[in-house]
Each structure stands twice: as C-alpha cells, then as structure tokens.
Amino acid sequence: MRKLITLALIIALVCSFTLIGYAGSDLNIDVNNISDKIKNISPASIEIINPATDIIYSDYLLISIKIKEQKSFKFSLYAHNDVNGTKNINVYPITSSGAIKIETIEKNDTMSDYTYLYGETINTTDFAFYTLQLEKLVPGKYKMSIEELDSEGKVTRTIYKDFEIKDKSEQPKEVISYDNFNEKPSNKLQTIQNFIKSIFGN
C-alpha cells in the first residue's frame, strides 16, 4: 500500500513539474537576447539602439544611436580589410534637428585591420537620435566607433560596436509549427490560472 501511495505521489509530482514547465515555456525568456542587450547598453549618455544584434542577414542596415545629454561626438564606420566592394555602399545620414552634423570626416585611419568608410562629427541637444541608413552592404565584418568629445575636441571615451553582414540566404530559416501558435488566451500560464479561477473562483 505504501509503495502504491509513493508511486502515486511520484506520478503527481512529475505531472506537476511537466505542467509548470509547459506553462513556463511560454514566458519566452531568451537568455541570449538578454546578454545581447547587456552588451549594447553603453554607460552614460550614448546608447546604440541599432544594430541590436552582431550578425545582420541583409544588405541593408539602419544605425540608430540615442543620445541622452548634450554632446559632441565623432561617428565612424569601418569595413574589415577583407571586405570587397565597399565602394558601392550607400550611406544616407538622416538630417535631424536634434543631432546636427558639424562636418564630414574625410579620413580616419586609426584601425590597421579596417578600412574607413564614412564618418561625421555631430553636435546634439540633450535628447536626440543619430541615424544612418546603409544600403548595398557587402558581406563581411564591420565596425563602428563613437568617440565622445569634450569642449576642446579631445576624445574622452570611445564606444565600439562590431557587426557582421551576411547574405540573406544564410539566415537560419525559422518555421513555427501549427502547435506553437497559442490559442487565446495566448499565455499558457494564464490559461492554467483562468482554469483554476474557473474552478475555485477569484
């Protein structure tokens, strides 16, 4: 009899854990995503909004940088020396009332493995977005740098962001199966809660 009760308890516990796991799977906590975000959070006043990932499967990229206090900075974009065909890349800086271009940087050869592509010096208000569109990007490794400047134009801090452009065809194909579409209420945990509520009331 004792064995039977123990067995029943084990089954009950296993079922409960399965259910909790099933419900929790819908919380969508993506550890990789969190670490990505942490990597992108730059301290102080400048935050790189986009690219939000290190690999981009496209020939198009929006660069967006949030500035949270009045600043001057130099933005520079580089392609790794191995990247071919960078001359065809189109760079469209987006005119902004909050982030005003002071000058285009013609040359910036501070990195030996990288070829300088584009850059400009920017003055911003206390809340602004600096934005660039890049078209016809060729696959390869790229780097961008943001050099914060003091009132005398000296670099006080540099933020780097590396990213890799890959061909769209290389993007892993994600397919959502029929069973992974949640019926409303979408959250399975919510479904269980609702079910319990329906039995015991609120």
């Binding site: 009899m1 009760i5 029943a8 308890l9 089954i11 009950a12 079922c15 409960s16 259910l19 099933y22 935050e47 909004i49 986009n50 939000a52 981009i56 499967y57 496209s58 020939d59 198009y60 990229l61 929006l62 967006s64 949030k66 949270k68 469209y92 987006i94 005119t95 902004s96 009332s97 909050g98 206390d126 809340f127 602004a128 977005f129 934005t131 569109q133 078209e135 769209k168 993007q171 194909k173 994600e174 397919v175 959502i176 029929y178 069973d179 579409f181 949640n182 019926e183 409303k184 209420p185 979408s186 959250n187 269980i192 079910f195």
Partner: protein, 493 residues
C-alpha cells in the same frame, strides 16, 4: 491509530492531487483536439473578371501593403502590388482544396509571423469576411461566423502553409491552416518587388528602441510638394449645378424648389424635404433622402456596396466634376440603422499624386445605404491646381524637402503627451526618455499625405500641405511635414 489517520490523510491528498492533475491534462488534451473540429472542404470557383467601370467589388482590395523582405528590410506600398495580392488570392483559394483548420491566435503570434519574411495587406475597416470570401471565389460559409471581418490578411515564410486574418472590429487574429502543402508565388513576388526602387521603412523598435513593430519611412525618396487645390464645384457655376441637380431628381426636376441662401449655399428640395440637395460655398455636395420604409428590402454588404458605388458613379462619378482622376479607396464600412431598418455607411478616401488626402473635418465621400435606398451622400473633392514652389533664401533651391517622421516625433512627442494628459488624465512622469518611449510605443500607424488646410477667407487658395499622420488608439495627429508644426488632431470614433 495516529499512524493510520496520517496514512489516510496522505492518501486523500494524493488522490486529490492526482485527480486535479488528470483534469488539467485532460483539459489540455481536449483543448488541443477540439481545434480540429473546425475543418471543412471547399469547392473553388474563379474570381470573375473585372467589368468596365468601377464596381463595388473593386473596393474590396487592399489599399496598403506592408512588406518584410527579411533582414529588417521593410517597405509599405499603396499601389503597384497587384501581383502580390493576386498571388495571395490564388494561394488562399487553393488552400481550400484540401482540409483546412481555423484557429484563433494571439496578437503575439501575429507579431511573430510578421517578423519573418512576410506580407500584410490592409483592407478598409470592417469588411465582412463573407464579402471578401465571395470576391475571392470561395463558396463555403462556415468561417464567416468565426472570423467576422476581414481587416487585414497576412502570409509569412515562418508558417508557409498558413494564412492569417485580422478582424479589427473584434480585435481578433486568426490563422487558416491548409493540409495541402503550399507551393505558391507570394514569396517569389516579394523577390520581384525587392528589385524595384522603393522607400525603405524601419520599425519603431530599430529607430528608437521602444517596443513597437509599426513601420516608419525613415527617408522618402520622392519629395512631396505643397500644392494648391480647387474645389470641384462653385456656387456660382449655375449650369454645372443644374446638370448635377437633374441627376439627383431626374423626372421630378420640374417639381423641385430651389433656394439660394445669402451665404451662397444652393438648396434643391423635393416635396417637404423628402429629398434635398445642398451645394455650399466651400464645394460640399450633400444629398439627403427620407427612408421609404414601405419599400425597404434588406440587402447584404456586397449588394449595399454595389448600390453605393453605382450611386456615386451616377451622381458626380468617381472623378472630380472636372474629370480629374481621384484614385479612390474604401476607408471604412459601418453598420447603421435608420427607422429600425438596417443599412451600411461607407466612407471613401482618395489620393492625389499617390498620397492620401486628409481633411480637417469629414471625409471625401460618405454614403449611407439602407435597404436598397441611398439616404445620405456627401462628397467634397479637390482638383490639383498647381505645385506651390518654395524659395529658400540662402541657396535659391526651389523645393523644400519634408522633415523625416523621426524628427516630427522627437520634436512633438510632448504635444502628443499633453493631449493624453489633458483629455484622458494619463500620467507619463517627468523622465524625458520614458515619456518618449511610451509615446512612440502607442503609435499604431504612420502615414504621409496631403492635408487640406481650411481657408480663412473665401477667396483664398486651397492649400494641400504635405503632412505626417500618426495614429494612436485614441487620436489621429497631423503635422506639417515641411515645418514640423502641428496641424491638429482628430479623435478616433
């Protein structure tokens, strides 16, 4: 004795836990199975070929296409996507060759499929699913009750054997899954589109970091210019007004009273106001007819739309009265009731140079159909007159680029915030960044078009100003795209 009681308690608890677990498992099992009850088969008929002239069903087409090319590259098109739409219809129709399942899905699922390589077609608000089904040549009616309205349709690479439909009225999302493997042309059509020249759009998330997948055109390649407009009819154009009035009153025209008010408004009236036509100084044409309940016969949505479209064709046409094309589209359909009789109100918008025209008040064409009778019809259309050139003082440049939507938002989010604070009691706090993030997260549509500025004096020229339009759950906010100034807001009904 105590041991026995404890054992009994343990047994009882175990049994309760087991029963409870079994119920839960059965619930999920039953829930998963029950989805498959919805399947049904269809016979396919071909969509009829379009006849000459504009017909009601011509409006049952999407007015906007959202494309995700993959790799965070997006665009939005308002025309030139017929091939994509027809390939969607073909695929959708052929999906019904085999068994299909209809399933309500979450908003999260809908957002997820649009993150993959996908298309989303936006249709006029509140088009019944049954009407769209008929236009697509699908006969089976079972999904009509499930889906209700066809506000948007989507197809995505991440679920290639499924089709997705959004019912805005019920705010519900559905997926239709076909057991027949899809081998369609939709994604190939996207490859063709990508070869064309188009404006690239970005998500609000990519641009600002706030969570919102709504698209913004970051740079517009074509510069939209301020233009001057001309009303389609003037109160002093007596012959033109008479010809128009004859169309409304037909054989009864000899029995019509004509009233000319001191402010210039011309009114034609039949009987004691059973039928009334009004043409005002601004160029509004308004027609009202008292419902004849004795002759009322209920009509369905498609027939009502056909009656409305045909009425407009005969009473002013789908061009301006001067003969200029207006590129109309169906904006909204609403169920109405008059004297306890059911009907529909249709609202149409139009485009100039490909851009939608917005008014301070009202819409371009509004028409009410009750039974098979038109009870209300209003139109206010503008002809494009001239392109108004800007002359910059310093460079002599004759044109002026419009500001980006991004700049409009960064400069005006406080204005949007104030509207919500003052009229809805919202509390956004004082942190600039948080306020901005909340405001941009609330936006559910961004558009660029012309805004018709009301004239301050009667002899002033009508100006059609390039405008950015931002829609939230409660308001439509309009901003002058050249200066960034607010052009006001309209509450959403």
């Amino acid at each position: 004795m105590q041991i026995i009681i404890r054992k009994e308690k343990i047994k009882t608890i175990s049994i309760v836990v087991l029963v409870f677990t079994t119920i839960l498992l059965l619930y999920f099992l039953w829930n998963a199975r029950s989805e498959k009850k919805n399947y049904f088969n269809f016979n396919i008929t071909n969509v009829e070929e379009k006849e000459e002239g504009i017909k009601g069903k011509d409006f049952l087409e999407p007015f906007r296409l959202r494309v995700n090319f993959g790799g965070n590259k997006y665009t939005v098109l308002y025309s030139g996507f017929d091939n994509v739409w027809y390939s969607f219809i073909d695929a959708y129709r052929s999906a019904f060759d085999g068994e299909i399942f209809v399933k309500e899905i979450s908003k999260g699922n809908w957002d997820e499929i649009l993150k993959g390589r996908s298309v989303k077609f936006d249709l006029g608000n509140n088009i019944p699913y049954a009407a769209m089904r008929e236009v697509m040549g699908i006969n089976n009616t079972i999904a009509d009750e499930v889906i209700g309205n066809y506000s948007a349709a989507a197809y995505s690479e991440v679920s290639p054997d499924s089709f997705f439909i959004y019912d805005k009225k019920k705010d519900k999302y559905f997926m239709i899954v076909s057991e027949k493997k899809q081998n369609n042309e939709i994604l190939n059509e996207l490859d063709e589109l990508e070869k064309r020249d188009f404006d690239i759009y970005d998500t609000i998330t990519a641009l600002f970091g706030a969570q919102n997948d709504i698209l913004i055109p970051t740079v517009l390649k074509n510069n939209i210019q301020k233009i001057s407009g001309d009303q389609e009819i003037q109160v002093f154009e007596q012959e033109k007004i008479k010809v128009l009035a004859e169309r409304f009153f037909g054989d009864n025209f000899d029995f019509i009273r004509k009233i000319e008010e001191t402010n210039g408004t011309v009114i034609y009236m039949y009987g004691y106001g059973q039928k009334m036509l009004l043409i005002d100084r601004k160029g509004f044409i308004e027609y009202k007819e008292v419902l004849n309940t004795d002759r009322y016969t209920a009509v369905n949505y498609t027939d009502a739309l056909e009656i409305a479209v045909s009425f407009v064709t005969q009473h002013g046409s789908w061009k301006t009265l001067n003969g200029t094309n207006i590129y109309p589209y169906l904006k909204e359909s609403v169920n109405i009731e008059e004297a306890n009789r059911k009907g529909y109100k249709f609202t149409f918008g139009y485009r100039i140079n490909g851009y939608p025209v917005y008014y301070q008040e009202g819409e371009a064409i509004e028409i009410k159909v009750v039974g098979n009778q038109i009870t209300y019809y209003k139109r206010y259309l503008l002809n494009q007159k001239d392109t108004l050139q800007y002359f910059s003082n310093d460079s002599g440049d004759s044109t002026r680029n419009i500001l980006s939507a991004k700049n409009i938002l960064t400069n005006n989010y406080e204005y949007i915030k104030e509207k919500y604070v003052q009229e809805n009691g919202y509390n956004f706090g004082n942190n600039k960044e948080e306020v901005f993030n909340r405001i941009v997260s609330m936006i559910n549509m961004v558009d660029v078009g012309y805004f018709s500025l009301d004239r301050k004096k009667p002899d002033e020229e009508i100006q059609l100003i390039p405008a950015w339009i931002f829609m939230t759950d409660k308001y439509v906010f309009l901003f002058n795209a050249q200066t960034g100034e607010s052009l006001g807001s309209k509450p959403i009904r």
